[in-house]
């Protein structure tokens, strides 16, 4: 795929589609490409952290820093792959997989008590004290059969979310 050109060939579209496991239609990929080019101001082939932060709705999101680590510098193919977890056609495992990756900031494949605490901190900020957060988390983990020292794996996450499913969808505007 050309890094400086803003022309997307049919071959490119199909390649991207395969890479995201057909979770987006070809029109959606074309729309996403337009959006990608809009955000990538100087056509470098990837969107920098700065350019993501220029979207106020994104910058104001409490999890923006964590997501930024995951999307910073992605080329278009990986950008689409990242967003594919938000497609209506994505499976529960794929969606939970993304959530797991957000919690597992050091990428070691397991989520500790502290990892969850950090995300809670990002979300609740000054509305809860650290102590309150720890108390709540301890209690909730105990009731689910885990302890403070437990490490949660991806399978544990899938088990936790399995019962009621997960609604995490974004619609790609198609002209």
């Amino acid at each position: 795929m050309g890094n400086a050109s803003s022309m997307l060939t049919q071959y490119d579209i199909e390649e991207v589609q395969r890479h995201c496991h057909n979770l987006f239609s070809q029109q959606e990929i074309v729309s996403l490409y337009k959006r990608f080019c809009q955000l990538d101001r100087n056509a470098k082939g990837f969107i920098s952290a700065d350019e993501f932060l220029s979207v106020p709705e994104f910058a104001m999101n409490p999890l923006s820093q964590r997501l930024l680590k995951m999307v910073d510098g992605l080329n278009f193919k990986d950008f689409v792959a990242f967003l594919s977890a938000f497609s209506a056609k994505a499976s529960l495992e794929q969606k939970v997989g993304l959530i797991f990756k957000v919690y597992d900031s050091d990428g070691n494949g397991k989520v500790s008590f502290n990892d969850i605490l950090e995300v809670l901190q990002d979300l609740s900020g000054s509305f809860m004290s650290d102590e309150q957060r720890q108390q709540v988390l301890c209690q909730v983990l105990k009731e689910a059969g885990y302890t403070r020292e437990s490490y949660l794996m991806l399978d544990d996450f899938i088990k936790v979310f399995g019962h009621f499913g997960l609604k995490m969808e974004v619609e790609v505007p198609v002209d």
Binding site: V55, N61, I99, G125, V136
Partner: protein
Amino acid sequence: MSNPGKLITSSSELDLDRPNIEDYLPSGSSIQEPHGKLRLRDLLDISPTLTEAAGAIVDDSFTRCFKSNPPEPWNWNIYLFPLWCCGVLFRYGILFPSRVLVLTIGWIIFLSSYIPVHFLLKGHDKLRKKLERSLVELICSFFVASWTGVVKYHGPRPSMRPKQVFVANHTSMIDFIILEQMTAFSVIMQKHPGWVGLLQSTILESLGCIWFNRSESKDREIVAKKLREHVQGADNNPLLIFPEGTCVNNHYTVMFKKGAFELGCTVCPIAIKYNKIFVDAFWNSRKQSFTMHLLQLMTSWAVVCDVWVRDIISVRAGLKKVPWDGYLKYSRPSPKHRERK
């Protein structure tokens, strides 16, 4: 942008301006109250927040305000294309030169009247100001004519009265010229470089215009003071303010900066809506300089717009409201806002 990646703390003004976010959320998605016992699943479920973030990545209302919306191509079939080519020839070959001629004549007349008036009548301020005002209105009419501007004014003509300001939506610098043709306003503008800056320091100075510099924070107090002095004076021209603070693409209005409303005067709204069929008057200052923008206007068929005075902005002119501060175009939201969320 001077500080890539760093958050520039915006002033507390933005805090006070925070709109009621419930007004802007789509119906049905109000912030939910938790019910029942808190389970591990509920605690770990960050999907709403992630969905919002992904939604913003995919599309966001702020970027849409500043997007130039290209016109739909209508000239692509075999019947219309040659017509379009003739149109291009006509516009560039005939219209453009005659417009340049009109504009040149206008400038000659203007300068040959303005310079003598300005220097010879130094002692008679009242008369001088009156003549200068009419001359500025004249050159603006020439400008408007040079784009074949068809401007329909609705509502009463603004008059010179103290303690009154006018606010208008902003699409391009030509907004100022169109309104100036109607009445010689004093306006508050960003100081520009180049030939525009020269015009600002000489001619517009005589109208009593006020300059500011976006990047200087101390500037704000000085400007606020100047504004207050201006509206108190009975002799000064009516003051025109563009409260969005920046050019918006004429499909939306962004949140107004509140300076215009804090002066303790009556505020009269003016709305400008351009007819896109003729030309898209949005000046995307990132994409083109003002000179290019003017040239583009002069090679189009016409600039057609409606100006409404004293009607409610945004509802009347068919523009949509967006809860974003226009200055976010230049800086990032402060960390304070993220915490609130």
